[in-house]
Amino acid sequence: MSFRKRGEVLSDGNAARRNIVPGGMIPRDMPSRNNAQRPSGAISRGPMGGAAPGRVVPNIGNVHRDLKGLHISGRTAQAIPQAEASSGFSAVHPGIRPSPATSQQTTSTGCTDLDKLMGHSGFPLGCSLLIEEESTTDFNSILTKVYASQGIVHNRIEGSHGFKDGNTHLIVLSLNHHLTKELPGVYKGSRKDIKKSKIAQEQSKVTVSNLLESQSKSNTSAQRNKDLKIAWRYGMNDDSAKSESSREVDQSETYPDYNHQFDITSTLIPAPTSNEISFISPLLPAASVLSQMESIIKRHNSKLIRILLPNLLHPALYPPKMTQLHELIPLLHGLRSLLKKYKERCVMLSTISTSLYHNQPLFTAQIEQLFDGVIVLEPFGQEMLQFLERAYKSQPNKIQHGLVHIKKLPVFSERGEMHVSKSEWAFKNGRKRFEIEEWGIPVEDEDDSNKKNKDSSMQKARPPQDEHQQSHTTNLDF
């Protein structure tokens, strides 16, 4: 932590941009990429994220988008026909890829494991997801923050002009404007990796002290070349390893900016601006919420729209009258119809704490009906956690925090496929990722000592067999 602060003072504007530069494999190719860019340090508009190797299809899109960006910044936005803007949109967005199941266009939820759970490796566009949480815990807020951050990071992929006219816009239905300051930043590898990359960055910088050093030590440049060579060699090795490994990795090569890993202890710097995120108060009458939202969607007509509706019906945020069906249903239904109207570029995530509504099953069912997908988080109770702590005494990072139930999956459930799975998945929340894995009850080895005793007693209890074995061995010796 302290190291990051020191870095902030030292580095120039590049540091800020570096935070934005996405990609799961930052620690690996970051230094080399920086080095490559260093000589032309002033070029900040370049398609930085797009320069990743091995990305075939979106690269074309990148050029296209860059041209578009030039158009907009150069002259007027009207120069591009609107139809082209909206049709060209989804094909080139770095955060969009076809679903492996239905080949529908999908975008990431921001959490890799949740993406997998959805069956499409992401959010099919035009769909909504409701995350229910069954106790007073707040695990859902992590998913909402990661979802929001992912949108912002997608928006900034193309470098600095993403601030002006990026590719993604986030609409939050909440009064909590602090959300912008709480968004997690991209995970930048372990602490060691960060230190290494910082040192490399410092050394590669053209500063007085560095120049002096290089004069005093004439071999530094050679040293640097050697470093590069090593980095390059490692890169080669990585590539060959990748090609051997599974198809999944291949896909992450094709879509390098599809999803990112976030570090929930860090914050996204710089905080999103009003051009990247808009807030709408959900307490307004449904009609005005919807009209505001539609005007925002229209204003950002070439962007992917991510809608976030956090803590639905939380008693501290929503007045009691919102629980009346004639208040709530028009809002949710209107949101749904907007989603379907702009289905080629909208997704929606919502969270609700169901512990307050568990004795009104009809009410929750009515809410669930208006969402395409419903996933339930059920944090473990006290006894279960104690049991897990005992069972995983030696590996505390294996302790799961709760169960994940699936009630509905987007697209599949609409087709009539039954995707209901209860207690098949478990989640655990760590600093760098929210993991969802298959749930299995761990084996408790508390009666290890008992077992041993039993074993020894059993051995004692069967001398005849032992004799028999001995006779075997004597035979063999013979």
């Binding site: 106790s135 007073t136 815990t137 707040d138 008693p315 501290a316 009691p320 009258k321 629980t323 009346q324 069906l325 704490s353 512990s355 307050l356 509504y357 004795n359 009104q360 009410f363 944090p379 109770g381 006290q382 956690l385 104690q386 702590e389 505390p396 302790i399 059993m458 209890a461 069967r462 075997h472 035979n475 063999l476 013979f478």
Partner: protein, 295 residues
């Protein structure tokens, strides 16, 4: 992660002396056991100089310990907030003292205004200690049929929930049945009673512990919920069931235990892959020949 292993008794002590940061402590009681003794436990543990504001819906009698007494009966929530405000720490104060606000009941505040009311009073330097009587039925208007009930809301908001239950020999179900008919058994509302302390951490995770409290001696005893031990099959279980003899003698049991089941054999990999060759009489084995190794 070590949180679940915390000493429950220490937690209870800290709760009673208000050292555990908690802005709303909720006591839920029933007709069988009042929360009066719990409130007294709090008063016994907190420092003497702490300002205590008592808000009363039920009694015009001012308790001895109350520095300020507010008669809330007949007041709307706005009026109540206005009456309370002068006794709460003011925002301009630099380092205000901890204040304790005791409500004798929250039953008379409707669930629709409850969250707003609590959020206006609550601040980092105020602890609210309130009781909710679960035996009093709650009325709620038709337009709030989907809104959570007051007790649900309170349990959701509260950082600490103390559920008071009597210590009686009567079965729980029988007691409920009796009380629902207003048949009140003897020896209820004792100074010795059980509480279930639910403590919510910052993350929202709840930890439940049960204690036996003696308010006379101020003794707290941690009660470990006993699990029903799984009873092994014993010969007595079959006694008198049938006319057949289903019993097993010790010797038979031992023999039964020694039977090696086929799947157990398959699981032992000790001799895995080894060629077991047994010589027979007719085998012709030449010790000189190095190639005639049966293995």
């Amino acid at each position: 992660m070590a949180s679940t292993n915390n000493n429950p008794k220490v937690l209870l002590k800290r709760t009673f002396s208000l050292k555990e940061q908690s802005s709303l402590i909720l006591c839920t009681d029933t007709m069988a056991q009042s929360s009066r003794f719990v409130v007294e436990e709090f008063l016994d543990n907190i420092p003497d100089e702490m300002p205590i504001v008592f808000v009363s819906f039920e009694t015009p009698n001012r308790p001895k310990y109350a520095r300020q007494f507010i008669d809330a009966s007949g007041k709307t929530t706005q009026q109540l907030v206005a009456a309370l405000q002068p006794y709460l720490p003011q925002p301009q104060e630099q380092a205000p003292k901890m204040h304790l606000v005791i409500f004798d009941t929250f039953n008379y505040i409707g669930s629709e205004s409850l969250t707003q009311f609590i959020s206006t009073i609550a601040s980092p330097f105020v602890t609210i200690l309130a009781t909710y009587h679960q035996s009093i039925p709650a009325w709620r208007p038709a337009e709030l049929q989907n809104y959570p009930t007051a007790i649900q809301l309170l349990q959701f908001i509260a950082n600490t929930v103390i559920e008071v239950t009597p210590k009686t020999s009567i079965d729980e179900d029988d007691l409920d049945a009796d009380l629902s008919r207003f048949v009140i058994p003897k020896n209820l509302n004792n100074p010795t009673y059980y509480i279930t302390l639910t403590n919510k951490r910052k993350s929202g995770r709840a930890i439940k512990n049960k204690f036996l409290i003696n308010s006379k001696t101020h003794d707290y005893e941690y009660v470990i919920e006993k699990q029903e031990p799984v009873t092994d099959e014993s010969p007595e279980m079959f006694e008198g069931l049938t006319t057949f003899n289903l019993n097993t003698s010790e010797k038979q049991k031992l023999a039964k235990d020694q039977v090696e089941l086929p799947y157990l054999e398959a699981q032992s990999f000790n001799s895995g892959g080894a060629i077991v060759y047994e010589f027979e009489k007719d085998d012709d084995y030449d010790e000189e020949d190095p190639y005639e190794d049966p293995f």
